[in-house]
Every structure is written in structure tokens, then in C-alpha cells.
Subunit: 167 residues, 2 copies
């Protein structure tokens, strides 16, 4: 069975790290798999803005792509902050086997890592509408799986996803 | 071999009629095929506006979807007015086997048909930025195939596409 595996969480929460490893795990197994990540597709497929409506529409578009690929038997791994519940629920609705994985790493931990230096810029107000600082993140209420990367290694997190989805 | 088969032409030119028939032809043959049409995906995947930039970005997004599906061995049939050369060229660039089919049906003929009543509204200025009336259509310079549906039946046009692409 193929899935749409949707990673949601704050910037720096570790979602893309796990998602990428999961992609390579499935690819190496010979599965039909695609990886969609905000950072990767930004050039071709940019958000049209950072206000709530633009963010929601952006996730709807990504969800549409995921559902198309899923329909053709491809497992789609998506890694997007996707801060709004209604946009994630929309994707769940249009996909057959949507699995939401909430990377719940606390913001203090994400900000401490600050791999891309974005939190610093958001605190200095060089970046506006930054999720968790100046823009909301609506926590998933019923995700299929929750992972906190501040408490375990990437390998342990990856193992949990693989085991949970029986991949 | 799988393709991205891109139908471009004015509203009412007959592109979607041929594209749909081609989709069913391939589907019935058991091919892996997807159909993307402006009218169909409008709800999930709307243009963000009708100005030049919005139109170009919209086609870039569609092209990205087509290239993803193509990568996974699926033939993608696209039917979009896609009035700007640079956006079509962008799709050509990111796809491996892009085949542009220009439906060259003259505007007088499209307007005479006016199946959706859009030309009338455009003439009455009820619709703004209408391609061919109040917005430009840049004719393809080197399409793989050109078809004028004012001169032949749908079946003849379809046959030309099938023969040309050796489908």
C-alpha cells in the first residue's frame, strides 16, 4: 500500500531530516516514492505570500500534487511546516492514505538549534510572519504519530515511522 | 515512452475536446496516464490572478506537476490556454519529453462557437483579461504539431496526434 506521509512541525523541528532519510530508505527498497519539501520546491513552486490565505492555498496545492501521485501508486513524503489545521485536514480529505506525523520538538529546542539562522532573524524582526514567533502554529489534534526529536536520535525517530507504517 | 503532451490554444479552440479523447484512448489501452485541464483543476488549483505574472506562475506550477508525474513513467496530457511563450518554454525545459500541440483554430471560429458564452462576456467587458480579446496570445513558434479544428473533425485531429506521437 502506498501513502501520503505528511510531516508537520516548526522550522528546525527535524521534520525534513527524518523525511529525507525515510525517502532514501524507501527508494533503496525499490519503492515508488517522491519527496516534496518546502525548501526543495521553493523555486519552482513558491508560496504566493506568507499571510494565512497564501499559506493555506499553498498547502492545498501541494496536497493536490500528493493526491495525484498517490493515485498512481506512488508513496509521497511531504515535509512542510503547514501550520494551519484546516489546510492539513484538506490534504487528509483529498488523499486516500494520508498519515500525519507531527514533529513536536519544542520551539525552545528548535530555536536553540537555529540551523538556518531564521529564528535569530525572526526575533530581530528581519523576517515577518515566522511560524512560532510572529505567526501561529496550530498543533495537530489527532496525528497518526508524534515525534519529539529533542528526546531521541534521528535513527530512533525514523525507526518509529517505519515500524508504525509497517514500511 | 511516456510524454507530457501539452495542448495550447484559445478558449473554445477545441483543445480540451481532443485532449480528453486522447486521455480515454490511452487509458483504454491500459497506459499510465493523467489529464490536467484548467477547467477541471480550477477549484483545487486556481490561478492566483489573471495578470501576466499570475498566468505565468500558474503554468509553471502545472509544469512542475507534469514533470513529477512524467518522472514516474506517467504520460501527462495537459490542456491550458497557456498564452505566454516563456511559460510554455519553461515547461518544455523541465520535462523530458514535452510535446507541444498548438490548436490554431482562428479566433473568429472560437468566438462563433462560444460554447461557454465567454467571448460574449469578454466583448461586453463583463470579463477582463480574456485571452484573444483583451489579453494577448503568443502563438507557438515551433510546436511539435499544429491542428486547426475549424477545418477537420475531432476524430481526424485525434488521429493526427496519435499518429504523430506513435501512441
Amino acid at each position: 500500500m502506498n501513502y501520503v506521509i505528511w510531516f508537520t512541525g516548526l522550522s528546525g523541528s527535524g521534520k525534513s531530516t527524518i523525511a529525507e532519510k525515510l525517502y532514501h530508505f524507501l527508494k533503496d527498497k525499490g519503492e515508488k516514492v517522491e519527496y516534496l519539501d518546502g525548501d526543495i520546491i521553493r523555486d519552482t513552486f513558491p508560496k504566493t505570500g506568507f499571510d494565512k490565505n497564501s499559506r493555506v492555498e499553498h498547502i492545498k496545492r501541494i496536497g493536490f500534487i500528493a493526491s495525484l501521485l498517490e493515485k498512481h501508486g506512488i508513496t509521497v513524503i511531504c515535509s512542510f511546516i503547514s501550520p494551519y489545521k484546516n489546510s492539513r485536514d484538506y490534504v487528509r480529505k483529498i488523499c486516500k492514505n494520508y498519515k500525519e506525523i507531527y514533529i513536536s520538538t519544542p520551539i525552545e529546542h528548535c530555536e536553540k538549534r537555529d540551523i538556518k539562522g531564521l529564528y535569530k532573524k525572526a526575533r530581530n524582526k528581519e523576517i515577518k510572519n515566522f511560524t512560532g514567533i510572529s505567526d501561529p502554529y496550530q498543533k495537530p489534534e489527532n496525528p497518526e504519530l508524534t515525534i519529539d526529536t529533542s528526546k531521541e536520535s534521528v535513527e530512533v525517530s525514523l525507526g518509529k515511522v517505519i515500524k508504525f507504517l509497517k514500511l
